[in-house]
Chain length 509, copies 2
């Protein structure tokens, strides 16, 4: 995809159709506003002094409101309709942008502003209530807020519309085209198979103590090592950086400005390293999007399930692979001398220890998706009206024990652990598992297509893999729907078998 695809055709003449050009101009302005808001958010998470927050919230509301009004105006609706009538060639960049503008415009305008505002206010209070509830491990403090968020989410879903399940309308916001029925089928396949991997995997890890790799790893040395690894996999520090936050994230501030964060524990180097590999995976996707399409669908990641596939691929398929430590061991020991106590094989075993635990974000690769299935089932039941909010803790604890054998004794370790519901993100969780499945499937295909890939990875050469992902995933932005993209890249839509094959080979054989 050459520079300026959106504006210039193959013959280098700009797209002449005025309504399309007007949409490019309008969406550029919106991108300037929303990316400025991203800057303000990034600073709030990283460096802003404590008392900056109130005015910052006012700035964010103002910029967000201005961007929203610019996009939801009737004028934009008219321009999109004119582009649709004009009819760009089906496989053109223009057609893809118009298709996605339509999708976003409809979702943004079908919900009445007073409902949007109500959700905003509800989220703010629900988030605070959730924080307190988690601190005190008391679900009842959060219960009325979850009830409100759920009610509003259902109203949003009714506005957006759906065919089979009301949950489909929520899913669409995170994973365009995904359907509850299909996810349920995928998960039904996955669940028993994961259970079958878990037994042998636990046994393999049984000899390892819980904090096997504990040591003294100074922050500055971790930073230097992480940076070297991130640069080696292709993260471009001329167009990005890594800072420190309690909750790691990846935030894009512009076409050549991608910000990652991680957190440090001086006794546990793996936390920051795998945090960086995960976020750098997101960052490589963002840095690989066509910059000249920034702010347009073609310059935007296609879905959370695809985004998460990139982070999981680099974190797990690259970073938690045996050859990773064979290659990086000497470099890591130079930065972090306490690692000299371990062989590459021991480090590999330590960072792949499997043992069910309560907290999703600390879960190993085998049990992780069990956490997601639990949330998915509860969410669908809540949204479809088959589960009462008051019954969430009991149902959670019951299902969690069935999945992992562990008894939840504190809601803070159970249904209160994640922020998502408090900020209205119902429908978001399943994209984490889609990410795992997509990662394995993409990696499987990359290994098939690049004969030398295993040898390259063993030598710490990541350019071949990155180039493949750039061409198959990153360069397309939202040109194709997520499942079209997966099919083009791997020959089939998202399946569970590649992930299961990968887990079996790694943890059972």
């Amino acid at each position: 995809m050459g520079a300026g695809t959106g504006l210039l055709r193959g013959d280098m003449t700009p797209v002449a159709f005025t309504p399309y050009r007007q949409l490019l101009k309008r969406t550029r302005e919106i991108a300037l506003l929303t990316s400025s808001a991203s800057m303000l958010t990034w600073d709030l998470e990283t460096y802003a002094p404590a008392e900056a927050v109130n005015f910052r919230a006012e700035q964010l509301a103002y910029l967000g409101g201005a961007a929203h009004r610019k996009f939801t105006s009737g004028k934009v609706g008219d321009l999109i309709a004119q582009c649709e009538q004009h009819g760009f060639p089906a496989d053109s960049a223009e057609a893809a942008n118009v298709r996605e503008w339509r999708r976003s415009y409809d979702r943004a305008t079908k919900v009445p502003p007073r409902l949007v505002e109500k959700m905003e206010r509800t989220r703010t209070h629900a988030r605070e209530a959730w924080k307190r509830a988690r601190e005190q491990s008391k679900f009842r403090l959060f219960q009325p807020h979850l009830q409100k968020v759920l009610g509003l989410s259902r109203q949003f879903a009714e506005c957006w519309g759906f065919q089979e399940s009301v949950y489909d309308a929520l899913l669409e916001g995170y994973e365009p085209g995904a359907k509850t029925r299909e996810l349920r089928a995928l998960f039904a396949e996955l669940r028993p198979a994961l259970g079958a991997v878990l037994g042998p995997a636990r046994e393999k890890s049984a000899a390892l103590p819980e904090n096997f790799l504990r040591g003294h790893y100074p922050v500055a040395a971790q930073q230097a090592f992480n940076r070297q690894v991130a640069a080696a996999i292709g993260f471009d520090f001329a167009a990005g950086r890594i800072d420190t936050t309690t909750h790691p994230f990846c935030e894009t501030l512009g076409p050549r400005d991608c910000r990652l964060t991680t957190r440090y524990d001086e006794s546990n180097f793996a936390q920051s390293l795998y945090g960086v590999l995960h976020e750098a995976g997101h960052g490589l996707y963002e840095q690989g999007l066509p910059g000249e399409q920034f702010g347009r669908p073609l310059g935007t990641a296609v879905s959370l399930g695809i985004h998460e596939s990139q982070s999981r691929l680099w974190e797990n398929h690259v970073g938690r692979d045996a050859v990773f430590w064979q290659h990086w061991h000497p470099v890591a020991c130079e930065h972090l001398p306490d690692l000299r106590r371990f062989t590459p094989e021991q480090i590999h075993a330590g960072v792949n220890r499997v043992a069910p635990s309560f907290i999703r974000v600390e879960a190993d690769q085998v049990t992780y998706d069990l956490h997601i299935m639990l949330r998915f089932e509860l969410e669908v039941a809540l949204v479809e009206g088959r589960l009462k909010v008051a019954d969430v803790p009991a149902r959670w604890n019951e299902e969690f024990e069935k999945l992992t054998g562990l008894k939840v004794t504190r809601d803070a370790d159970g249904c209160l652990q994640d922020i998502h519901w408090s900020i209205g993100l119902l429908g978001y969780f399943p994209t984490y598992t889609l990410g795992n499945l997509n990662a394995a499937q993409l990696m499987h295909r990359a290994r098939q297509e690049r004969e030398n890939l295993a040898a390259e990875l063993a030598r710490g050469e990541y350019g071949g893999l990155l180039g493949w992902l750039r061409a198959r995933v990153h360069a397309h932005g939202s040109r194709y729907r997520p499942q079209e993209l997966m099919t083009q890249a791997t020959g089939e839509p998202t399946r569970s078998r590649h992930h299961l094959d990968y887990l079996r080979q790694k943890f059972v054989n």
Copy 2:
């Protein structure tokens, strides 16, 4: 001044006059835009990756343009006119806001947009040309650009209007109410008097080698010490922070968010410390402005000459005073053990060494204003058409030698050293000297009014001095014109004698 002065009267009823309320709303929106732009600028100077710059420039142009259009619309002009006709009481907050809105509105609307755009483009090129010219020390590379900047500045001045000197119109942008004739009189007094101080001051410093205090001062230890000093003088870290940049600055991002920067040299602790004291002086002014008036004239610093008085006061009158090192010596030695080689008196002597040198920003307290006088005379002559751009280097070198006895052999050490002209800041330089004079005058008055001030400063107690400055300067924002403010605070407009008395007492006696 209580909370909400702008909106609430003494009887706590909001100002009912609708046009005034509309102006408050409009200027709030403008403040949200311009403060967001400040955030983007701060990041660009501190943390942004190299390649972020192009898109960032586009964001800044967009936000700046939006703010400019919102302020210069005919609607705003009508609202101001209605407020003027309405006639708020002369000493009210509302009257002061309206007076300053009028001043800004007229300056912003009298210049045709195409001239503003032309200046923007010219500045961008001139700045690049200046960088190259300075690197190569070749004035002729910069000469055509300075010619253009000068021509445009004259056109701006003609648009704004003036009575005596065309230079007055430029001055007004940095120091409202200042007149070329008055500055010339002030400087005429100052110049021979400074010359008379310079001889004895040089002699006093003659025994000190140039890098008398050189040592090993690790950056982290400098940061810890600087932070402790900044907190002690009253800089509020809950509403501000200190970062690192090549060119130190103070930037306000919101009513409770003030960002300082400094730079570090591990052999020279004084660079970062006095950088922090200087910028924290600016920061204390910003943090002392009434936050509920943020973005309005009453919440905005009144002039550069007053702003600079705050930075100079804390940097020089506090930080370069003998009692400063008597108090801070033990603390400094704990952070920076290499300082144990020196007595407090030696450190004091070292940071007050007087010796003429080529570079303004490195100049000592006695010769500093000679640098400013040179620039002022050249600027006025250029703007009034009495000096040709081509003759700048020769005139500079001739005058500099008269002032300091030093022969400039490279333009990079002479007329190319400062960025100001390249970015169109003609009329800015004299405010540095006004800052020095105002600082000495305010400090003189504070000592008169607070009997215990000397004792407090000797004990490292700065709350009394800060409280005095808060009440006399900071709290007023732009309620009074700069010279009204000085007269209210000190009993007279800006004079040279307090600064001269201070220098004589410090460097001659």
